[in-house]
Subunit: 201 residues, 4 copies
Amino acid sequence: MDKETGRIEAFSDGVFAVAITLLALDLHVPRLNELAPGVRLGGALLGEWPAFLAYVTSFLTILVMWVNHHRLFELIRRSDHWFLIVNGLLLMGVTVIPFSTSLLAEYIGHRDASVAAAVFSGGYLLIALGYNLLWRYALRVGLLKPDAPPRAVETITGQYRFGPLYYLTAFILAFISVPASVGLALGLAVFFALPSVPGKK
Amino acid sequence: MDKETGRIEAFSDGVFAVAITLLALDLHVPRLNELAPGVRLGGALLGEWPAFLAYVTSFLTILVMWVNHHRLFELIRRSDHWFLIVNGLLLMGVTVIPFSTSLLAEYIGHRDASVAAAVFSGGYLLIALGYNLLWRYALRVGLLKPDAPPRAVETITGQYRFGPLYYLTAFILAFISVPASVGLALGLAVFFALPSVPGKK
Amino acid sequence: MDKETGRIEAFSDGVFAVAITLLALDLHVPRLNELAPGVRLGGALLGEWPAFLAYVTSFLTILVMWVNHHRLFELIRRSDHWFLIVNGLLLMGVTVIPFSTSLLAEYIGHRDASVAAAVFSGGYLLIALGYNLLWRYALRVGLLKPDAPPRAVETITGQYRFGPLYYLTAFILAFISVPASVGLALGLAVFFALPSVPGKK
Amino acid sequence: MDKETGRIEAFSDGVFAVAITLLALDLHVPRLNELAPGVRLGGALLGEWPAFLAYVTSFLTILVMWVNHHRLFELIRRSDHWFLIVNGLLLMGVTVIPFSTSLLAEYIGHRDASVAAAVFSGGYLLIALGYNLLWRYALRVGLLKPDAPPRAVETITGQYRFGPLYYLTAFILAFISVPASVGLALGLAVFFALPSVPGKK
């Protein structure tokens, strides 16, 4: 029964695991011969704070997405061709997160920060659309386990419903207020990090 | 029963997952100090369009290959020594796709575009040969599940039969018309992305 | 039964496997045109000894952590939302090891070695806290297998109890004596590499 | 039953898959602005032949090692602490292959080729020792399946017995004749690529 979706989960886990681990490649060891005269290691590391913040943010975001992917697939019994394809598109969105986060870290506080924030929240928007598409397709074609608890199904449906709308708001906000846009996007990540049914897995 | 091929699938999934995720390493964040004077971030990102297009194309292509690999292995019951080796050669072809796509993205529109298009379609040709070899070997040595639906077997046989011939055409076309060669190669990827038996998994 | 934790283990294995394999990217082939005049390959390779030592140390450390992760999960029957999150935070610590080890290799013997040693032992401290948090949470919420051997449970509890305290000592020692700090951190890694119950798995 | 070794195999498969896929990162797309005047793409690619040869050689070697790992673990029923550690040391050897192969590709034909060939064959020597250690440990502690076919066990014992001796010969030969050393190392890889029991899996 679980066999049917075993390989999609294995492939997806692989993509999540590689994407989340590759993030650490962006942590840069300041080389001895790169240090400006008078600069000590402590200062050089502190000066890299946007890279560290981008690392932690990207890691947590991909972790939350993996948890949601896991939660969704617990309710899925079988897959079909287009389900594989849509799941793949979703993974494409996930693998772009390191790029969009790194872009935001580079341009935050710069006059082009709004473009970077638009790419950042736009990436999340695509992923939210991907989760919705995957879930709605599974519901419509009937890929769920017959014994999937109705409350868990409703919770996911409810949690996903307004995701794209909120991320669209963050995307539009990018051109008005960068802090508001980034804050909304990160707040939504926290929202999706919460257990879907409080007190229950 | 499934156990027999479990580890080949796990290893193959790993290779597919790593290859598809490594693609994102080619997405380059324009550094602030690299921007030419007067160039804004939006323009810099737009100027990287060949890298983004190569990313999307490579991702979708590897995704389609994974789906086909998945579909093929659903019919396989057991493996033997040479099956492992041939599957490995096929994976070697898959891991080269990021290189050949990146080469095409760099040289498209350049006087050496035909060489790049030949490498690009030549890579697909080798992979098509690999899938054919793997499938024919499995059929001949009897590695299929006894209950593999005959129609699914025939569909794969039919779909694979002319693959190498078509990719050989794309390879030869590279020296005559680059757009025709690339168009044929991408069109074939779309063809292989379609479900093998319409209306059925 | 095992199914419940199957996907966390798969995802964690993926992260461990990618992190441990990426280490090899830091092994640098001295290019022919980089060799200073009169320097032979043998000498160039010997001159890279900190990179090789960092490689071996990081590899063994991540391997030991994977073994401990494996040992802990053998006693776990099911997971819940926060267990997934805490496990993810633990993995974040693991993926930072290549960075902190490389930092130490670059600055050992340099006047800023104490900062590097503090980052190095601080990373281990966070991981030790992560293992403790994961284990205590599992005990409290009741995620263990009903038939988990009490002696194995006690051994892990005992082995973990003082881990954070010891690593905190290594962290503080970094500002007093770098060799003592690094020696303690590596000695603790050897301690955790020993089988939890001698003579038994 | 299989469960017991499931996670070691998953972790090992991950390491093999990442190592074999990372090889492709060494395939370098000649950038348009790097081409020397008058040099065409075809010539630039042909000039990279050592990188391509190193890629194919490393890929096939790691593939053969994975096949042997797979074959060995088919006979293993359970694991213990030191089995995990020895398996990890073996994997360390595998992840170093890209480095040693790349080193050989850079220095072949150069006056320091013997050092590179010694590193190359020395890496194989360590891996051969690792496989022997793993296998002998499994035999001695009794980790094999009770129903492991005696002939398959004997074949592996026989095939492994002289591996280290042959690779030691290749290592010593490196200082006498580079072609003989490299030829022997590659010949041994072909030998280990053959099915252990001809006509049987």
